[in-house]
């Protein structure tokens, strides 16, 4: 099973106006055994003043963790059991990384909050897909027949820019995840991850679902490279015409070998 990766990030137009950095991050790893993809959105509030670093470390550490996870021998029960420990391991890894970069510059009680971020990540292997998310942002899949799904559901609790955070004390409690084994669930045709600035730029949920379907269509019509080339400019325009926020989109597309 082969997967093509497309992704980019754009500094939000309100961040440009306010001279703030892009606080989103994204990354991927692709080996013979697996494909991992992650996006993160550092909280913009002043008290999270190193959230751009926190987002980058969330991506790096999630990719590292998932890559290791994929190296386990495949057995559905074993994978399920191992997945139960992922959330705690991820939080610990991220905190260790924060401690390392912070060098005790911030007081211990505020340290992780200062680097606060969301995280959405996906691991794909030959046998299964694992979805993991903390905080806002959109994780959607497109089936081979063109239906859009949310593998982790939609968190209806978030209004007004509120989100759960990897930097929170109780972060482990708010990490959602799901493993789907391909012998029970067909693999999706496309997996779409985006920070909340993207969905907030559409008039409604339909506009976002339409985007996921359009990406699939455009990739089919034009190929990966032209879409990858356009993506950065599209995200910039989207921020300008929509939410004004930083926007990151990362897509995995199932392709025939």
């Amino acid at each position: 099973m082969a997967w093509q990766i497309i992704g980019d990030t754009a500094r939000g137009i309100t961040h440009i106006r306010a001279d703030k950095p892009n606080q989103d991050a994204w990354g991927f790893v692709q080996t013979t055994a697996c494909t991992c993809l992650a996006v993160a959105d550092g909280h913009g509030a002043d008290k999270h003043y190193r959230s751009d670093v926190g987002a980058q470390l969330a991506v790096t550490n999630a990719l590292e963790l998932l890559q290791l996870f994929a190296q386990q021998s495949f057995d559905t029960q074993h994978i399920k059991r191992s997945a139960d420990y992922l959330a705690a391991k991820l939080v610990q890894l991220w905190r260790n990384a924060i401690n390392e970069v912070d060098q005790e510059q911030t007081p211990t009680d505020k340290r992780y909050s200062v680097y606060g971020t969301t995280l959405l990540t996906v691991l794909l292997t030959e046998h299964y897909v694992l979805y993991l998310q903390i905080g806002d942002g959109d994780m959607l899949t497109l089936s081979a027949t063109g239906e859009v799904h949310r593998p982790l559901g939609k968190n209806a609790q978030f209004v007004a820019n509120e989100t759960y955070s990897l930097g929170a004390e109780d972060a482990v409690c708010h990490i959602e995840q799901q493993v789907q084994f391909f012998k029970y669930h067909p693999a999706p045709a496309l997996i779409f991850l985006a920070t909340d600035g993207y969905a907030n730029s559409f008039a409604d949920e339909f506009g976002l679902c339409q985007a996921v379907q359009d990406f699939q269509t455009q990739i089919g019509l034009h190929g990966y490279r032209p879409i990858q080339m356009c993506l950065g400019e599209w995200l910039h325009e989207t921020s300008e015409l929509g939410s004004g926020d930083d926007i990151t989109v990362a897509i995995l597309v199932h392709c025939e070998m």
């Binding site: 909280h43 999270h48 209004v159 007004a160 820019n161 989100t163 008039a203 976002l208 032209p226 989207t238």
Partner: protein
Amino acid sequence: MTNTIKRPGGAMATRPLHFFWLADCSGSMAGEKIESLNYAIRNAIKPMQDVAAANPNAQVMVRAIRFSTGAEWHIAQATPVEQFVWDDLKACGVTDMGVALTMVAQQLEVAFMPDRCLPPVLVLVSDGQPSDDFNAALETLMRKPWARKSVRIGIGIGYDADMEVLQKFIGNSELKPLLAHNAEELVNYIRWASTVVLQAASAPASQVKHKQSQGVVPIPHFPSASIVIDDVW
């Protein structure tokens, strides 16, 4: 070739920001107080529009409720700030503030305000004490998720204003209600709510969700007054 590829997705839109004026029109407001309030709000329209123009990713929509004996919409339709005009309020009757809060609560349903909206701003202006069940109405209001995330500002007019009630409405001990002693102060406070508060709500940053949230928009404090209190209501 890349220029010919259509950007994916449906219609784009900036994020709605609903701004509500809740104005006391009870009999005690008659005369200079109501005239000053009308003047202050009208005077704040242009600065408010300027702030909105400087934050083009927020679509500011204005509504207003007047309350006296009962309450009714003064501006019923959510009106883009660019088209916002102010018709004079008239004063008579009692102070049914609770009815006004209940009316706002109905508009803060998630069904009317999807999660992509920006936190709403509620500005309550009053010179007296509620004549109805304010506490029950406030409870109804605060049951709405959008109300809990809203920016709530309380402005009292004159010494008879019930500042305790306005503080309860704000619901955040760090943010105090403002007491206008004269027309000049009222103009300043209304302008502050229409500009500084609007600016803060227009571009809020992500905040971590807490069990006991006091809102999601940090509001700058009104600058310390250097006004000489002479023209006291």
